[in-house]
Symmetry: C2
Subunit: 409 residues, 2 copies
């Protein structure tokens, strides 16, 4: 990988076009985005809207149904003052500073604010990173509701090959709430971490010779640590195991399940994509790519208890689980618990708990679906931040979303 | 690559689902479709509708415009008797025998017959193979019309790096009509052929160590044979050079040019895709994937002289060039000339010449847009035939299309 193009530290973040990424025929090698470095900044300024050009993707069709109409009544939200945000005083300043690609505020199904930057547009499909997990959680709800998936059954009931892995005796509920205990280093910056190995097997980074051939093999190789169900352990592999279970429950591939049970039901405007590995296994934990408004539709459906208009993604009971969250005690000792002492993680969604409780989907490098039931507001932000995780930046995002919701409440 | 699943020789072609291709979690290794063998049968039964899962693809957005409405007045064409077709007496028998994935007959903008097989549906994007070339030819027409592209200028005028390659002193017209003379083995079945090397560089086959890094490098490496302009030489690389020229004319990437100048103008229902190599260069000669009806729209626009309703793809003059063809003398000695003594190749479209002259786009393994101006008919067929080229099968297709057009004339 060539060194990163330079930019002045005081200027707002440069766009992919300003950086010259993938421009020229051929692009200059110093501006070429490759599978080796696309996730990190500044390469992700281009890559996050072009994932299918770097990693093979399955199409997740929107289906033949009607588009869920979103009214638009623009409000002057750009000057909304932000409370306690380090880098900006107003929403517009914050969006500029925080590597925004797309940003949308929806109240009661009406778009109040919609903004595209860095070459993104309404039809652009942007990678969701771990927001993808929350889609998998909603999907699972439908199968629990129909009785096809028993939340108390073990993973090995559905995927016998996993019996001697970390997951064999974990329950479906433990998958959903991320309380499976396993040996897994989720440090995105550590080349020897399991999470980077998982990336390599999924085609998200160049392979090493010793890597397992497929994600299925990778998931079988993971080992249990402590007793399951005792504590929250955020782990991307856990969502992929859930996706594998859904494949076994349906006898279909995950991209098809996602299309039939979710994407064709939300009134999506655009097909989504999901990256696939050499065995065609979808990267359910992070590989979905979707348009900004379609994510707003999903958030709105969750806010409305799982259904609205002619569209339905899960039962009211499942939406209520997501809205109310889980046992905060499971999060003890985590950074998240320090920020949200009453917060939790349930059904692959985060929940702040406490006063003005919000639930949300979040992915590295700045992807959010933020749902505030009290304010009847959904906020979607898609970004290409330079670092995967930065606690201060994360906190700023939460505060910005809360400021916007408060201004609208 | 595992050995091909067996099927009885007298049964109709098995579908991807019947073959079990990419079924199971994980798929059995004997049913796994990989980049190593996806083009050949039976793997292509699955692969041709899932190219983006095997080769990275750029999205070619349909844009925000209105869909070109196609009326539907189904007629009983399935029993149409076919004249001189070896394998079938009626259209339906022929479609069954000829590995059809999608088939559509359009007369005067109205769908008379539309059929999907082998898991394909109206939203499926199917690889076009060399039908992609004809899209590039239409695109080029717009730039000739605007004056941005001079048909008499040399390739090196636009792409100086190609000056010492086969293409340096070839003219744009010679690219368009495939009369550039170069050392190029277009034998799809020969691993040492240039066309397979081109596939490898494009990501369509596993790379060899000695392969050029990018398609740009590959195109520069090609060497001239005889004088240009004297004879037709069908060569996939020639279309890719035309695409490179269009990138230089516009300063944009080919997928963007294709979207802005063509795909967003035909009233497409669906985004198209096009495969890209490591440098992001699109495989203009064969890598476009599109839906059946969108191809019918393109064919109809060409039939209507380049525009219809609010849609326009090229000038009447350019459409007329395609419709009337070129000098049949350039084809002397070719198999094509034996079938069509008055036939020619112009602006990246084939032309039968003679009585009831038709023009058409064709790709290996059975892809066709067949336009019969006399009958006011467009026929689109997308297939996954087991062999890239088979003269008897090709002849059967032409005769079947002519029989249908004659029945409707």
């Amino acid at each position: 990988m060539a060194s990163a193009p330079e930019r002045g530290s005081s200027a707002p973040p440069a766009t992919a076009a300003e950086l010259g990424l993938m421009q020229g025929s051929p692009p200059d090698p110093s501006r070429l985005v490759t599978v080796a470095g696309w996730q990190e900044g500044p390469w992700n300024r281009w890559a996050f809207q072009h994932v299918s050009e770097l990693v093979p993707c399955a199409v997740v069709p929107r289906g033949p149904g009607h588009v869920f109409p979103l009214l638009s009544e623009p409000e002057e939200l750009g000057s909304t003052p932000l409370d306690g945000v380090r880098c900006a005083d107003t929403l517009d300043d914050f969006l500029l500073e925080s590597y925004t690609d797309g940003f949308l505020v929806l109240r009661g199904g009406t778009i109040l604010y919609e903004r595209y930057e860095n070459g993104m547009g309404p039809a652009s499909r942007h990678v969701l990173m771990s927001v993808s997990k929350s889609l998998c959680g909603v999907l699972a709800g439908g199968f629990v509701e129909s009785g096809a998936l028993d939340p108390d059954a073990t993973v090995a009931t559905y995927v016998p090959e996993l019996w001697d892995s970390a997951y064999g005796d974990a329950t479906i509920s433990q998958l959903l709430d991320m309380t499976v205990s396993l040996e897994f280093n989720e440090d995105y910056a550590d080349p020897d971490s399991e999470v980077q190995a998982q990336d390599r097997v999924a085609g998200w980074r160049p392979r090493r010779l010793e890597d397992p051939e497929t994600s299925y093999d990778f998931l079988r190789s993971l080992r249990r640590k402590d007793e399951h169900g005792r504590a929250f352990q955020y782990c991307s592999a856990t969502t992929d195991v859930l996706a594998w279970v859904l494949e076994r429950v349906t006898g279909r591939r995950y991209p098809e399940v996602l299309a039939d049970q979710l994407w064709s039901r939300i009134g999506a405007e655009h097909d989504a994509f999901v990256t696939v590995d050499r065995a065609g296994f979808a990267f359910a934990n992070g590989g979905v790519c979707a348009s900004l408004r379609d994510l707003a539709r999903l958030g709105h459906l969750m806010l409305r208890g799982g259904s609205a208009e002619a569209h339905r993604v899960c039962s009211p009971q499942w939406a209520e689980r997501v809205r109310t969250g889980s046992d905060p005690g499971l999060m003890a000792g985590s950074d998240f618990a320090r920020a949200y002492p009453e917060g939790s993680y349930r059904c692959q969604w985060w929940n702040t708990g406490g006063e003005a409780s919000a639930f949300y989907a979040v992915g590295i490098f700045g992807q959010f679906i933020w749902v505030d039931p009290g304010a009847d507001v959904v906020i979607v932000k898609l970004s290409s931040l330079p670092k995967a995780l930065d606690p201060v930046v994360t906190r700023d995002h939460h505060r910005a979303f809360r400021s916007v919701a408060a201004a609208l409440a």
